[in-house]
């Protein structure tokens, strides 16, 4: 009866292309209980507070979400870009010291869409507990990785869990109401995408990084978040986890996909709530359908091999990146990244040579709001030097347990986490760069490497100062992918 009424009303709305309510909508969506869930009990809980500025910025994202939803649910969308934006912005500039109960801040929204809040709340718990595991100083990296697998199982045990399968983002953003919010409310949409930038960029900041070296990176990331990302109205699409934390997304694709599916659900909900002309019933139905699309239960039994392109059950991913669904215009490993243009995720972002399959895994560079994977230290340094502003390099050393973290200031002066770090750089052919451009935790480790690799015998170790003065320029192997922006008129889409 409700479905029939919805059909009649949608015809009145004039958008008979609105998706119909699926017959197998989970029964919990209509359950009346609050169903509040406690997080997994563990010693690492609230380790996020070890990085106080990060914790406070993360807590403020909850306030931002809630205040915008409360304005939308209570018919105050006209003030979204003015009063509500200013109110949220004040909180973002003075973030709370403790986590905030989002439901208390958005009572009207919760009275209308309490089932949606259950999905959001449970996924946000996963966000926070993942961070807590990675920021916890009491466990080894391998124990943390084991716990993240267990945390994923714990998350999936509830019916509100989102799927960890990659979803086709072009499909999920293709409904009659899609893209409306970002066009009509660019400032608040910028805030949402800013929060989601922070919620995805942080995982490579933490993953396999010694806890003592995590906070220093947030000086760069937090500054970028607060000064640029929150107010960026030019981004073409929401930030993707694999785009900003590629190393984490490759190792934990199910988590990366769940976070992207959550963020796409936020975009869908924003579009539905801000779509003029929808009745209350239509809004409710479309939100339920949007939830249904990304629930784990909807895709149970499916796998990445489920090949139904551009559909609800399209779980393809770029071959080199299991932690990301297909994007607008994506072709195999090529995707369009806001701020960077077209990139091939299987290749070094600087020299376009395929990324190594074995150790050392290479490095990542975070600068100017993006994070790129590169093959070697030389590519990392030279790519960072091409970019104005501060940068972070995370690189493999000879010891898999010791990651080199370099954080630069505005002038490009690097500060290392390893005081005795020494570099090898003997410029040669790029396909071999992971052999001749490397970092070592100390001089003795470099000497052992030179003994084991006589082709580099006699090469001097470079200290940080000498190494950072080098610049080999743009590699001749670099291949620019010359395709138009698919999100702009005249692009692929």
């Amino acid at each position: 009866m409700i479905a029939l009424l919805g059909l009649v009303l949608s015809a009145g709305f004039g958008q008979d292309r609105l998706p119909p309510v699926p017959p197998d909508l989970p029964s919990w969506i209509r359950a009346k209980g609050m169903d509040e869930l406690y997080y997994k009990s563990a010693p690492y809980n609230w380790s996020i507070n070890r990085i106080p500025k990060f914790a406070r910025d993360m807590y403020a994202t909850g306030v931002g979400h809630s205040m915008a939803y409360e304005a939308l649910a209570s018919g105050r969308e006209a003030e979204l870009e003015t009063t509500t934006f200013e109110r949220i912005n004040r909180i973002l500039k003075n973030p709370p010291r403790l986590p905030v109960d989002e439901m208390a801040l958005s009572p009207t929204f919760v009275r209308k869409y309490g089932y949606l809040e259950k999905v959001f709340d449970w996924a946000h718990t996963l966000h926070f507990q993942t961070i807590d595991v990675l920021a916890y100083p009491g466990w080894s990296d391998s124990r943390k990785e084991q716990e993240l697998e267990e945390l994923w199982s714990f998350y999936q045990s509830e019916p509100y869990a989102l799927t960890g399968l990659p979803m086709n983002m072009e499909y999920l953003d293709s409904f009659p109401y899609s893209k409306g919010f970002r066009q009509k409310y660019p400032k608040v949409n910028g805030l949402f995408w800013g929060y989601h930038w922070l919620q995805t960029v942080n995982y490579d900041m933490l993953y396999r990084v010694p806890t003592a070296d995590q906070a220093a990176q947030y000086e760069v990331i937090g500054e970028r978040y607060r000064e640029v990302e929150l107010y960026d109205e030019t981004r073409d699409f929401m930030p993707m986890t694999a785009e900003l934390s590629p190393r984490f997304a490759k190792r934990f694709p199910q988590l990366a996909n769940a976070f992207d599916n959550l963020h796409m659900l936020h975009d869908n909900v924003n579009d539905i709530l801000s779509q003029p002309g929808l009745t209350d019933l239509q809004r409710e139905q479309q939100i339920q359908i949007a939830i249904y699309r990304v629930l784990d239960s909807t895709h149970r039994g499916e796998s990445e091999d489920t090949l139904r392109p551009n559909s609800l059950h399209d779980h393809r991913h770029p071959p080199s990146m299991p932690g990301m669904g297909m994007m607008v215009g994506s072709d195999e490993d090529e995707m369009y990244m806001s701020g960077m243009g077209w990139m091939n995720m299987s290749e070094c972002g600087h020299c376009s040579v395929p990324m190594p399959e074995e150790e050392p895994w290479g490095a990542t560079v975070t600068a100017d709001g993006w994070t790129m994977s590169v093959r070697c230290l030389m590519c990392a340094r030279d790519m960072a030097s091409e970019t104005p502003g501060r940068a972070i390099i995370r690189a493999a050393t000879e010891d898999p347990k010791k990651l080199l973290i370099l954080v630069s200031d505005e002038e490009g002066n690097w500060k290392p986490n390893l005081p005795n770090v020494v570099f090898l750089e003997k410029f040669g052919e790029h396909p071999d760069c992971s052999g001749w451009s490397r970092a070592f935790t100390n001089d003795s480790a470099l000497k052992q490497y030179l003994v084991a690799n006589p082709e580099y015998a006699g090469m001097p170790g470079l200290n940080l100062s000498a190494w950072s003065k080098l610049n080999q320029g743009k590699p001749d192997t670099y291949r620019r992918i010359d395709r138009p922006n698919p999100y702009k008129r005249g692009g692929n889409k």
Binding site: E36, L37, Y38, W46, V63, R90, L105
Partner: protein
């Protein structure tokens, strides 16, 4: 008295080791009313509070209430509580009863309908000085008032040989929004039927719940009893300070 203060300090210190939420209102923390929501599924919450009861015509009493709750299922919790009282006039510690309690949240607020929950409590005597065993039930309705504030109506019935009824109107208002998110103001007006069938027990109270870290809430309140079936309890004041910690 020293013993009960020492017990209180010990209780609060142990709490510091173990997510209470200042928005989630629990009975006696620090006022009598509660909201229509259970604690979170899978969570434990340890609550303790020291109360000082001041009377017009007798020496004060001191109470230490301790309760542990467990969210054993979605929207349901079980709790066990104990609130011994020390009477400084007679220098005697009264054990009072052990309270066993079951709470179920039936519905959250949906549309204009209030959230609904209920609680059933049983008391088991612990010592010869304990009160008679009680069975009590409470129906709880919570409803958004304007934006962030809420009303909470608690309707109770107690059976101790005889049936007695009571009602509490509670009010909660988060303070500091939209700039601060850690404090809730509470107020209540209560009336209950005494065993003599007259509406003699009535009180009013105000209180604060303040989040002091991610899992800990500090609360304090002042309650004034206007009428009481027990003449010496009339016009008495109760000051309570407590702590809740979830784990």
């Amino acid at each position: 008295m020293k013993a009960i203060v020492a017990l209180g300090i010990l209780g609060m210190a142990s709490l510091a080791l173990a997510q209470s939420d200042h928005n989630n209102l629990d009975k006696e923390r620090p006022l009598t009313f509660e909201d229509a929501y259970s604690i979170a599924y899978r969570s434990y919450e340890l609550q303790t509070g020291l109360s000082a009861f001041a009377f017009l015509n007798r020496r004060p009493q001191y109470g230490l209430r301790t309760e542990i709750q467990y969210g054993f299922a979605k929207n349901r919790d079980l709790s066990i509580g104990w609130d011994p009282v020390y009477d400084s006039g007679s220098a005697r510690l009264r054990g009072n009863n052990l309270e066993l309690s079951y709470f179920e949240g039936l519905s959250r607020e949906i549309g204009n309908a209030p959230a609904i929950g209920y609680r059933v409590e049983m008391e088991a005597p612990t010592t010869g000085s304990a009160r008679n065993a009680d069975v009590r039930a409470r129906l709880i309705l919570s409803k958004q008032a304007r934006t962030y504030d809420k009303f909470h109506l608690n309707l109770g019935v107690a059976a101790t040989g005889k049936v007695a009824f009571g009602a509490i109107l509670g009010y909660s208002l988060p303070l500091g929004y939209p700039n601060h998110f850690d404090t809730t103001f509470l107020a209540e007006l209560g009336i209950e039927q005494s065993r003599m069938d007259s509406w003699q027990n009535s009180w009013a109270g105000i209180g604060i719940r303040r989040q002091i870290d991610v899992t800990t809430v500090l609360d304090y309140s002042l309650r004034m009893r206007f009428g009481s079936a027990v003449s010496e309890s009339r016009n008495s004041l109760t000051f309570t300070v407590g702590l809740s910690k979830s784990f």
